[in-house]
Amino acid sequence: MNWLWWRRIFALTQKELLQFSRDLILVVATIYFFTGEVYIAGKGVSLELVKAPIGYMDHDQSLASREWLNKLRPPYFDVKGQITEQSTALKLLDSSQLLGVIDIPPNFQRDLLNGRPTEIGFQLDGSNVVLGNLANSYTGLANAYFNQEWMLKQMKVTPAQALEVPRVDVRQMILFNPEGNNAWFMSISEMMTVMTMLSLFLTAAIVVKEKERGTIEQLSIAPLTPLQILLPKILAVELILLCGIALSIFVVLLPVFKVPFQGSFFLFFLVSAVYVYAVSGLGLFIATISKNLAQVMIISILLLMPIILLSGAFTPPEAMPEWEQALIWLSPLYYYINMGYGIILKGSGLEIIWQNLLALFALGTVLFLFGIRQFKKQFGA
């Protein structure tokens, strides 16, 4: 590996970058992925219960029933109003105009005063599981508060005396993201998914393009080793994607979503570089098995799906079924997500993430050597 070796690598890297920059649509799409897509993900999806439209059938119309309904508070709930007929309620639920309907039985207050247990019904649209879960949890809580207050009132405890009743107060601290800002989570997640997709796709596309046009034959008769042919392509992808991620961080994450970047930028870029290296090995493999870009695209997505889903980007490992948990270590994105969130939100340093980094590097090297071997086999160089 002398000076000439490196000059060749440099010249070829330059060629790849030039080629990339001339495919205007690809450049625009790449920029879009790193900015627009990340922005939309952060802005678009909310996994929070905000102003959930709730209706009620208050068959009791008493002080107690109104008090109970009063416990459903904004910003979680938006109590729309009284419904008289069950059929109307169902129609409103069917057409998704209401998320849930509270059903307070007649004699609600009388039963309560007489110490007879009462039951409030809550019909809840379960088709969106996130909202269903949240709505159930918040109404359950509202009910618990109502019971507590009602009990104190029944025992004729005045607010001053209420201090004399034993009570556990919970001070809940949400770490790393105290306001529960969903945009942080979604945008970071999306940025890493985009990284995965592009490092897989761009690497494969750059190689297959040469195959499709036949220019790969020129390269294979040139005095270059397979490593010398492939390394510049990967270096080019590295450079493009690191610029892309810088764009994401400095144009979207920090200024728009005000993500508090706790850790070191340098470490994050280092981790990202290792990640691109790891995934590009898979990209090379795709390139060797496909004949044209259409196949590249389809195979990339096929591979991408399990990588993303096993990574814990949508579902954290503990919530996966067991067979899935056993496979997560195969997904390079799993390590990247762990380290990425660690560095960005939790401010982790190298001393916490080194195991992940090492594992990613090892997995990447295996994939990379495998990719190069396949390539060598195909071109007999």
Partner: protein
């Protein structure tokens, strides 16, 4: 439009797909794998959250309180720690999702009728899960509190517990989940995936089909022939509709067989709307193909152009009603939302023609619109 010309074109297109075996196989495997992975992988069930307890009090009462957490099916108890600071690293590495700290004097305060402060530290990385944990913790505590209060009054006022319970009957909240009784996220996301996958796959296949001819140059044969744009577009789209219709039928069946989702509505409606939906998705692909020159660009844009609306603006992740105004407009500008309503309507809600016929209308409208745009944008003259 000449039917024979259209059919000839379709046959040519079909042969081309058939002879590219990788492409052909992928055209069928791809949607199925995507649906399986997404359906099984995207779970919103919140269970088994790993946590640890730091108990500085070590009393009967604190153990009783901790036990409520340990025995909850939502939480996965990972042990006790000596100091709260020991948990920092576990949380940073995401080995646990939250920490419960019970202070010293917990039982002493409670026994004297004073409030006791416990603390939780919750990993806020997954916002939705953090708020669920918060909710569960509050609910468990509220329940514990009412037991405490009852005991307290029983002791203070010298009434027996039974008498007290008769005086203070609590209200129980009975939640009935409509449409998805057990709140299984796979029923909703699994059936929703049909909408997502079958928007992405037909669009991509159709877009690549046209652009491939552009790249290889064989499109010049079309340019030079007597085929009109309308005939070309229609002939081109038919094989993709056929493939996609087979696919969407397989997926619709898979939702019931593999995801064990119920099917309560009218099958005939679903079959018709599936056909219209994959046709409009393929038509989106053709529109895209008129804008781009390279297969890579076609594939990328088809991905972006369909995945985002289907994922973000269809109601799959959040209901359209609670979207911001711009997002609402985007939701109505794609067939995805209408098809999702049909899917959830027929699978989960037991609806049929009566409730959902307007959606069919809208999807047909989209199909005609995309088809029209593709025909108008398809020029037989190469721009100089």
């Amino acid at each position: 439009m000449n039917i024979r010309k259209i059919l000839t074109l379709s046959k040519k297109e079909w042969l081309e797909i058939w002879r590219d075996r990788v492409y052909f196989t992928m055209a069928f495997i791809f949607p199925f794998v995507m649906m399986m992975v997404l359906g099984f992988g995207m779970s919103f069930d919140v269970e088994k959250m790993p946590f640890v307890i730091v108990d500085y009090d070590q009393s009967d009462l604190s153990r009783e309180y901790s036990h409520k957490f340990i025995s909850s099916r939502y939480f996965d108890y990972k042990g006790h720690l000596k100091k709260a600071s020991d948990a920092d690293e576990l949380i940073a590495k995401a080995d646990i999702r939250f920490l419960l700290v019970i202070p010293p004097e917990f039982s002493k305060n409670l026994k004297q009728g004073k409030p006791a402060q416990v603390q939780t530290q919750i990993d806020g990385q997954f916002t939705y899960r953090a708020s669920m944990v918060k909710g569960y913790v509050s609910a468990i505590t509220a329940h514990f509190n009412s037991e405490l209060t009852q005991d307290w009054f029983a002791k203070k006022r010298g009434i027996s517990k039974q008498e007290l319970q008769a005086m203070l009957a609590p209200v129980t909240l009975q939640t009935h989940y409509l449409y998805n009784n057990e709140l299984k996220s796979i029923w909703s996301t699994g059936t929703g995936m049909i909408m997502l996958v079958m928007l992405v796959a037909p669009a991509m296949l159709a877009a690549l089909g046209v652009v491939r001819e552009k790249e290889s140059g064989s499109i010049f044969n079309i340019y030079a022939s007597t085929v009109t744009p309308a005939e070309f577009i229609t002939g081109k789209i038919l094989p993709y509709i056929l493939i996609s219709y087979i696919n969407i039928s397989i997926l619709s069946l898979a939702a019931v067989l593999l995801f064990e989702a119920p099917f309560k509505g009218e099958l005939s409606l679903l079959m018709v709307s599936n056909l219209l939906y994959v046709a409009s998705a393929a038509a989106i692909g053709l529109v895209i193909s008129t804008f781009v020159k390279s297969q890579a660009a076609a594939a990328l844009i088809a991905m972006i152009g369909t995945m985002i609306p289907a994922m973000m603006y269809s109601g799959l992740m959040m209901p359209v009603a609670s979207m911001a105004a711009e997002a609402k407009i985007e939701a109505h500008a794609f067939p995805a939302m209408y098809q999702l309503e049909i899917l959830w309507g027929t699978y989960l809600k037991g609806q049929g023609w009566q409730e959902l016929w307007p959606n069919l209308f809208v999807i047909t409208g989209f199909l005609l619109l995309y088809w029209g745009v593709a025909v108008l944008r398809f020029h037989k003259r190469v721009k100089a």
